[in-house]
């Protein structure tokens, strides 16, 4: 009995002690804040932050002379308090996950998910790894924010089918109603070519009438139409390369062509944030893969040096080929690849470069020709230019551009060229028409207008979000704008609150991002008008206050006199 009391006493003593410390800590921070204010010490300004420790990934270019214009990219560090609270949130949810798993195990609760059959119960468990646990116990709870059926063109505004769930997101039912005119901030519709009318749609209809929709054979056999040849010549001209080749699917372009290019005894140096298709391609190629830190040239250079000095493991023979695989715009980070430095490294160490321009083609550069155009470089310096038609062109498929020998080789060695049905004619026509509009070959300035509009929208939207005190990642010219939410519950809450205000957004969490860096990703489009952006910004501002998303510790400009004065500032 006595020990019991002592134990209890100690336990509560510890509790009191921690509470006391917490109180002291709060008082001290308040007091210091007050003292600093009194003696006139300021918080760091944005520039100081950029130089200093608060940026997670400083990435100071060691060769700024390679850039023709300033390269401003920022990744503000997660505030410590937010990180701690986020981990705590995941901790609580994990505990409840275990509780639910326990209830399901003992059949106290109905199971809605796949499970092992009784005959399998002594075998290795199938659904016990972390990803399954996460899906079952965390993702399902906020699943209503994803996979919503869209029932119109996913242009700047779209219609969504309303769903309801009788059992907390395990199953959904359609209510029969439609959410009209939801503002779309999630589609990769950078140049606004996702349309059901206009020149592209008309041309696609004509192509359907001429060729039909299905092709029914591969490029090698009966599926090689004149429209495909035309498309490939146009793409080559657009990119400024010798030759190019188009495929029916962007994902397959990566995952099937990298294995055709490298094999055993080759080395692939891949950015850590590369898209799944690149990762899959690299793995299928059976080459050795080494991963460098995101956009970090020191890391890449070190890997290159090591590769050249040491050669292959064990045998120490030199590598047959070294292929650097990077993306133009990273779709989760909004960062732009440091292409000038990569090209310098690649030339210095005689490696090859594979550049995936899925998000950057059409969206970056004064002529919409991607990162190469953005940095004002020579496309011939990039050995393999890959990109997709899914984003800026409002179509489907992917391309590879490069030297004529490369393309001729791929034509007979790439799986997606030899075994996959060729691109549907209306899709090819959509690409041809939209690409001609971007190049200005249709005799109008519509393409240039769209490019300018996209750039304006990007700058405006990014600056406004930044001024609100939200943490946004990435390069200031990138139309992909990730906004940090951090806490797991806030992904769900943000999606639902925004949809209440008739705005559709994309939330991203683990496994697409590191576990504490959940975010919302906005994709700005040239089709968004200033009013739409302002509606969106007002809503984000309101929801940001409601959910306390304004984490940024940088100094913010004073609140201005409203939209009008800001707009006049922007025009200068």
């Amino acid at each position: 009995m006595f020990e019991m009391t002592i134990f209890l006493y100690l336990f509560f003593f510890c509790q009191h002690f921690t509470m006391l410390l917490l109180l002291l800590y709060i008082c001290a921070t308040k007091l210091f804040g007050f003292i600093f204010k009194c003696i006139g010490l300021k918080r760091k300004t944005a520039e100081e932050y950029d130089k200093g420790s608060i940026i997670k990934n400083p990435n100071v270019p060691h060769n700024p002379s390679l850039y023709k214009k300033p390269f401003v990219e920022s990744f503000e560090e997660t505030p410590l308090m937010v990180a701690v609270l986020t981990y705590m949130g995941y901790g609580i949810l994990t505990i409840f996950g275990y509780l639910r798993d326990f209830l399901r195990q003992w059949n106290i609760e109905k199971r809605h998910i796949a499970r092992e059959r009784d005959e399998q119960k002594d075998f290795v468990p199938l659904y016990q790894d972390f990803e399954n646990f996460y899906n079952r116990n965390l993702y399902i709870r906020i699943r209503d924010n994803w996979n919503r059926p869209v029932c119109s063109v996913p242009g700047p505004k779209m219609d969504l089918i309303e769903r309801s769930t009788p059992n907390y997101n395990w199953t959904f039912e359609y209510t029969g109603r439609v959410l009209k005119d939801v503002l779309n901030l999630g589609s990769y519709n950078y140049l606004g070519f996702a349309e059901n009318k206009g020149p592209c749609a008309d041309a696609a209809i004509e192509a359907t009438q001429a060729y039909g929709v299905g092709v029914g054979s591969t490029r090698c056999e009966m599926g090689n139409l004149d429209i495909h040849e035309e498309l490939e010549q146009l793409v080559a001209r657009f990119l400024g390369v010798e030759s190019s080749m188009a495929f029916g699917m962007g994902f397959a372009t990566n995952s099937m062509n990298i294995p055709a290019l490298t094999g055993k005894g080759c080395l692939i140096l891949s950015d850590e944030l590369n898209h799944a298709s690149l990762v899959l391609g690299a793995r299928l190629s059976s080459s050795t893969i080494r991963v460098f830190k995101h956009n970090n040239m020191q890391s890449l250079e070190k890997l290159l040096r090591d590769a050249i000095v040491h050669g292959q493991p064990r045998t120490h023979r030199p590598w047959k080929k070294i292929l650097i695989v990077v993306e133009g715009i990273y779709s989760m980070e909004g960062s732009i690849v440091r292409l000038p430095e990569i090209i310098a490294l690649k030339k210095h160490y005689k490696a090859y470069l594979y550049l995936d321009e899925a998000h950057s083609i059409g969206a970056l550069g004064p002529n919409g020709k991607g990162v190469v155009d953005y940095f004002g470089l020579d496309p011939k310096d990039v050995d393999i230019m890959m990109g997709t038609f899914t984003k800026s062109f409002g179509a489907a498929g992917g391309y590879i551009g490069g030297k004529k020998e490369l393309i001729d080789y791929l034509r007979c060695h790439s799986h997606s060229a030899v075994y996959a049905t060729s691109m549907s004619p209306p899709v090819a026509q959509q690409i041809i028409t939209s690409m001609k509009i971007i190049m200005g070959e249709d005799g109008t300035t519509l393409g240039a207008d769209r490019l300018r509009q996209l750039h304006e929208n990007t700058t405006y939207f990014r600056r406004k979000l930044h001024d609100m005190g939200l943490i946004i990642y990435g390069n200031e010219d990138s139309p992909v704008i990730p906004m940090m939410l951090y806490m797991p519950a806030k992904i769900g809450a943000f999606g639902r609150q925004m949809l209440k205000k008739n705005i559709g957004i994309v939330g991203v969490g683990f496994p697409a991002t590191p576990i504490i860096e959940s975010r919302a990703r906005f994709c700005v489009s040239a089709a968004h008008t200033r009013e739409m952006l302002n509606t969106a910004l007002d809503a984000i501002n309101e929801v940001g206050d409601l959910l306390q998303l304004k984490y940024s510790r940088r100094e913010r400009p004073l609140p201005s006199l409203g939209w009008m004065s800001d707009e006049s500032l922007l025009k200068d």
Binding site: F13, G89, D545
Partner: protein
């Protein structure tokens, strides 16, 4: 944030609590389990503070007086 009345403010605070702890995404019965555990712990802490803190303080005071003030006194008593 501007609030019209105290009720709205409290509702907002509760919402923040839901979001930060993550129990926003839980089902109502799970929420109530979490809340009742948390509140009973807090209540216990408050109750025990009420009971034990005066004792702590008295013991601590006694300890320190014995450390600093008590020593010469005791030697004195020994000597006499």
């Amino acid at each position: 944030m501007n609030f019209k009345n105290l009720r709205e403010y409290l509702a907002w605070l509760y919402y923040q609590y839901l979001l930060i702890t993550g129990i926003y995404v839980l089902e109502p019965w799970e929420k109530s389990i979490f809340n009742s555990i948390l509140f009973s712990v807090i209540a216990m802490v408050i109750y025990t503070s009420y009971v034990f803190v005066p004792i702590h303080v008295r013991l601590a005071l006694e300890f320190f007086t014995r450390m600093f003030g008590g020593q010469p006194e005791s030697t004195m008593t020994l000597m006499t």
